[in-house]
Symmetry: C2
Subunit: 342 residues, 2 copies
Amino acid sequence: MKTIADIAKMAGVSKSTVSRYLNGGSVSDTTKKKLERIISEQKYVPNTFAQSLKAKKTAMIGTIVPRLDSFAASQTMIGIDESLRSHGYQMLIASANQEIAREIEAIHNFARQKVAGIILMPAQITKEHISTFRDADLPLLLVGQQHPSFPSLIHEDYEAGRMMGEYVLNQGHRHILFLGVTERDIAVGMERKRGFQEALARHECRADYAETSFRMQDAMKTALHLLPQTEATVIVGATDNIALGLIKAAHQLGLRIPLDLSIAGFGGYDTTEIVTPALTTVTYNYLDIGKKAGEGIVQLVEEADWDLLTTSPVEISVRESVDKKKDTVYSITKETGSNEGT
Amino acid sequence: MKTIADIAKMAGVSKSTVSRYLNGGSVSDTTKKKLERIISEQKYVPNTFAQSLKAKKTAMIGTIVPRLDSFAASQTMIGIDESLRSHGYQMLIASANQEIAREIEAIHNFARQKVAGIILMPAQITKEHISTFRDADLPLLLVGQQHPSFPSLIHEDYEAGRMMGEYVLNQGHRHILFLGVTERDIAVGMERKRGFQEALARHECRADYAETSFRMQDAMKTALHLLPQTEATVIVGATDNIALGLIKAAHQLGLRIPLDLSIAGFGGYDTTEIVTPALTTVTYNYLDIGKKAGEGIVQLVEEADWDLLTTSPVEISVRESVDKKKDTVYSITKETGSNEGT
DNA sequence: CTGAAAGCGCTTACAG
DNA sequence: CTGAAAGCGCTTACAG
């Protein structure tokens, strides 16, 4: 491996001059040309460790995702990778594997590696997070959740909930069940539901609420329990995975979707188009939010400034899993055929 | 940030001693105790750049995946991450985004960053790959494809094909269509098909072969074309995504699965359990191969030695998408109801 | 525009 | 077991 000293010698200049050339400092045209030639001939690439050791900064951005195998995380990473690359930064990924402790640990590791900044996709923000952010003292961008003290980039969760509420109402449903998740997750557990509730509040209808976990299996179990009891004509899951669990449970109970029961979700995962019937959902733009996150952290790193809150738009994707009811009058009696469970 | 000099001063010893303590050299019990206390009190962590600059090695393993949003890649990364962590290494991820050029570029970048080793999941291995490997001169492990000159870790593709061939035969199918992919992909395009062919070769049956791409959309288009023409009673897609495309096309044509047509795939993606009917497939253990890859590269890095070829077992997952035919006699006439296309 | 020198925070023979 | 010294490959004031 060639070093800067080798190049300097070959060019007959000092290391300083080579370094200056490399970093865009003022160098005469003649030496610039010479250096350009020699460097490409020798395929010289500066040692990043030495650079970072001296300059005390790197071109790496640490990205902490809750898990590696979720549609949302994958798409967001793709977006981040893309925009970071275009700005000359490298994306480092750490998976927290759904554990808060590992999220904290990942922040420490990244800080120690002197990344230029951190993008974090948390499910919750605890005091421990806050204090870790504080003493990491690094540019930080939150994605998917917001916090008043840190730049945040979120999906329009409230809006998404509202859209879905209005949509099912418009389809004539008057007895609605929302299967949500813990309110400790502000974005999904609270905002999404709040938007939904407010849409329903403007109409005469009955709304029930239940809670389950993020895991499809759990949602299915909950649904197996709930479905035989409820008289709701539509069930809205707080995420597509929950909706998918609902569909599986409904299949198992011999319910026809959307004939006997309508189902909808949130997220726009690719799987929602594969299932039968295709799932009506609110589509989130994970790729977009990823790109914005990349831009954002670069700006935070280079200019130490970015909006405290940025949002990424959502849109409803109407497919086949929600039925149009003719009878739009509120009624407890179901009119869609009986529930012939297995 | 504290440096090793600070710690040395506080302990009243030299930097050398602190460094020796840190790296497991011989240090007296007394100073060992003292150092231990001071370091944890001061929360001292060595600067990785300085370490790497001097020691000329790092504890990072570069992992190059074809894409970030595939089930196979995600699971494999999870496995790699896990075993690397347990050995004190860090996983660095680069996505080639399906482009060979970016795969090559990623190898260069990792080499420049002085990673300890590289795990590569290629779709093909070109001469350009080989020459890049050669001058990167780094421990390298191939995952999912094999090459005679480099340690490789593969799924039992041939075996998988054989299993599936035998299974559909056992189910009484005698007219079979295999929807494969380009043979430039040795693992998927060649081996999987070869195993399948050899299983069929042992019985009297008719086998047709067609080709499509890896993308579900393409598979669906191909299927829309193929389905109305073929008289096969079962179609086997070379990947689950292809099988999923087949299912979608069959649905669109009004074919009932598995009543009118049986469908099977390879991979064991999580989505195969969600679709209706659940897909019969050969399940690959991506998590396992990921863990093995982690172990393997660590061994290559530390002992410069590992088997040239290691395999990860597969198993068939029988679900609902393949029908049992009563009539096991070869016959061109289908007996499963007519094809009432849309 | 250019160069000499100091220094970033470690590790590693070498001598004791 | 311990320390002084050199050096890894860069960057950055500083002086010219």
